[in-house]
Symmetry: C2
Subunit: 408 residues, 2 copies
């Protein structure tokens, strides 16, 4: 799908009727790092979430599940620096965070989406929230999206926020979001934290359906390191401030909304993959000519997950045999003798494999193509019409460095 | 299973009636590196093989499959430096290698197991074999096992050979082998090259059954980097020189043989994992208390495959949350609230998680335990009686370095 909607500023508060803030509450030792984000809608919202499928789940996810079971929510609270996972009193802490949001914003605790990200299995107390929630609530403003984006960062090196505008039912609507995620990211789950807001009016069931569909093609096609986090979720709040007739089922408005949601989420995937822990390059795999979408996805994910290929891409080494190898163990049924592969970047296109066998190529030209910071591995299976794309990054010394001593 | 049989010298030629050699034939540029191994039995052998399940398979595997279809073989030829995979004329080359073995040793081409390992998709010619096979055959000797072990090394830093002796039917038998494998190693396949020989007399069907069973618990529980190679296989030749009554079905002799085969293969797994590309540490995961063996294996493999845990082990960081995370996404059904985890090494035992939640531990003591070069992550699921072990290694700067520019 193309980028058909215009980008706008504002990220998670681009849509009308949302305010955000991000402050240092003391979960992190570094006083210059914001560690808690708050996002609040002026009015109740339709809400939808997708959660990690890891059996070990952070306590905040259980609390959020309960709070959005009725399809509605109005606020989001998220801290970084501690995942509140594998803690005996985790649910109590997460509920306490929601209660503090209620006390300082008036949003009922049962309408709060709560999330935590950071180290797993480290004791967490309510104290920083008790001391800091008043200031966090007081800082809420329509321009606070960037502060919130900063507050949820862990090993991320850039704040991640995008938004688009679109027309629904003759009214201008906006949809934007922030996300964090740099490590412990792997497909088949809602694999990071992403908070989206929109002023479109859309029924909760439609919102959930749109989110489920888009997550399959975006965040579930993103892998930094093959590790599926315990805490991750994607949530979207829709407050209806755009004034369009509420979307309650299939139709042109639903399609427009789903397309805008895809555009925002796909862009966040690119940004997250490129900012993967230690990454120097965005690595995408575009698969075309697959017999079905399932096969296309298996192949695309397998290629961007290969440690060997990721290391080769770091070294700008056109070791395409590793692409074939990853296709072969992807689990997709396919005819190896039909596979064509080429490396693509701003610097050019290098075909390296035709009909499953190597072809001669200019090593110096390949080096130039692979020295760019955005590399696509283009795989043509020549077996059908389905296609897919997956996002990843290279494997570098810095990934090892960052994760060799993350806690200290 | 314990190490009940005495270790003996000789590796792949420890068993009576086998000769081996390893020479530089010119597949590799470095003239001081042996690049081709030859192993020959004095008489025809029962033969069994397991192959990679990657759909992209090296041409030698197709030729070997055909040659051992009758359950018999007598020689093994294996080169390193070129995988002979994704080459248009690959089968022709592999058949040519077998024909040259026949010409210079008298072993029929149809009784030759052929293997190649190295870069995928690089053109390969018969020329080095045409020029060098006579010398390789002339070098065959009962003490040539180490030369053969060296000749199949790629990024391996140590030659890998072990052997045991045992008693069958009142006769002393021996079983030994060599293996190579340092990268592109991942469970659920015959995931490297391993050539085993024995002088036990055993029928081909029993030999295949024993190999299939042992591979499931050994090489399929070994992962260096999550990449499943295109070329890998395990083969065993049994020439009957020990003089025992041929093993043709279940019984004490079959059990003894299978146990010896397990001991040799498990030891080779440890050696390979510890010599994983860039590895500084052997990382094992021992799972006990699982509801069934399938669950135990899923958990053990998931833990040793986690890039995040592997990096933490490199940094001697007791980041046990990553263990819980990997257990949670393993695919095994389990009760998270029953899980106990401890780190174990020569330096001590550090319990870090009880009943799914963190417990306080001494960070300095944990650092000492994790600074050893063999670390076991011990996971007690408290849900049954099944157990499993998996072998892996840490993720280091050198893994990235080795694979960032492997071809040049």
């Amino acid at each position: 799908m193309s980028e058909q909607f215009p980008w706008v500023e504002g990220g998670v508060v681009a849509a009308q009727g949302f305010k955000a803030s991000g402050e240092h509450l003391g979960i992190r030792k570094n006083r210059s790092k914001r560690d808690t984000a708050l996002i609040v809608s002026d009015v109740p919202c339709a809400a939808a979430c997708c959660y990690t499928r890891n059996l070990v789940q952070g306590a905040p996810l259980a609390v959020t599940r309960a709070n959005v079971a009725d399809g509605h929510a109005r606020a989001i609270i998220c801290n970084s620096g501690n995942a509140n996972t594998c803690n005996a009193n985790g649910v109590e802490i997460a509920q306490g965070m929601c209660a503090l949001v209620e006390r300082h914003t008036g949003v009922p605790a049962g309408d709060v989406i709560v999330a935590s990200t950071g180290v797993i299995g480290q004791e967490m107390t309510l104290e920083p929230f008790e001391n800091g929630m008043a200031a966090l609530a007081a800082a809420l403003r329509p321009e606070g999206g960037h502060d919130a984006a900063e507050a949820i960062m862990t090993t991320d090196t850039v704040a991640k926020e995008v938004a688009v505008r679109f027309t629904l039912d003759g009214r201008e609507g906006r949809l934007g979001g922030i996300s964090k995620g740099s490590g412990m990211i792997h497909p088949n789950m809602a694999t990071m934290l992403c908070f989206l807001t929109t002023d479109a009016a859309i029924a909760p069931a439609c919102l959930q359906q749109a989110l489920d569909g888009v997550v399959k093609d975006t965040f579930n096609m993103l892998s930094i390191d093959g590790d599926t986090s315990t805490n991750d979720m994607v949530s979207v709040l829709a407050n209806g401030a755009a004034g369009n007739a509420e979307i309650t089922g299939p139709g042109a408005d639903y399609d427009t909304f789903a397309q805008a949601l895809y555009q925002v989420c796909a862009k966040l995937c690119r940004i997250m993959a490129k900012d993967g822990e230690g990454a120097t390059k965005l690595l995408t795999c575009t698969v075309t000519g697959a017999a079905d979408t399932g096969a296309a996805k298996l192949v695309a994910k397998s290629v961007i997950c290969s440690s060997l290929l990721k290391a080769a891409i770091f070294g700008a080494d056109a070791n395409w045999g590793r692409v074939l190898c990853a296709i072969g163990y992807s689990g997709a049924q396919l005819d190896v003798s039909r596979i064509d592969v080429q490396f693509v970047s701003r610097a050019g296109i290098i075909p390296v494999c035709t009909a499953g066998s190597g072809i001669p190529f200019d090593e110096a030209a390949a080096k130039r193509v692979l020295s760019e910071d955005e590399i696509d591995v283009s795989v043509q299976l020549n077996s059908g019409k389905a296609s897919s794309v997956a996002w990843g990054c290279d494997l570098t010394y810095d990934y090892v460095k960052i994760n060799g001593d993350y806690r200290t």
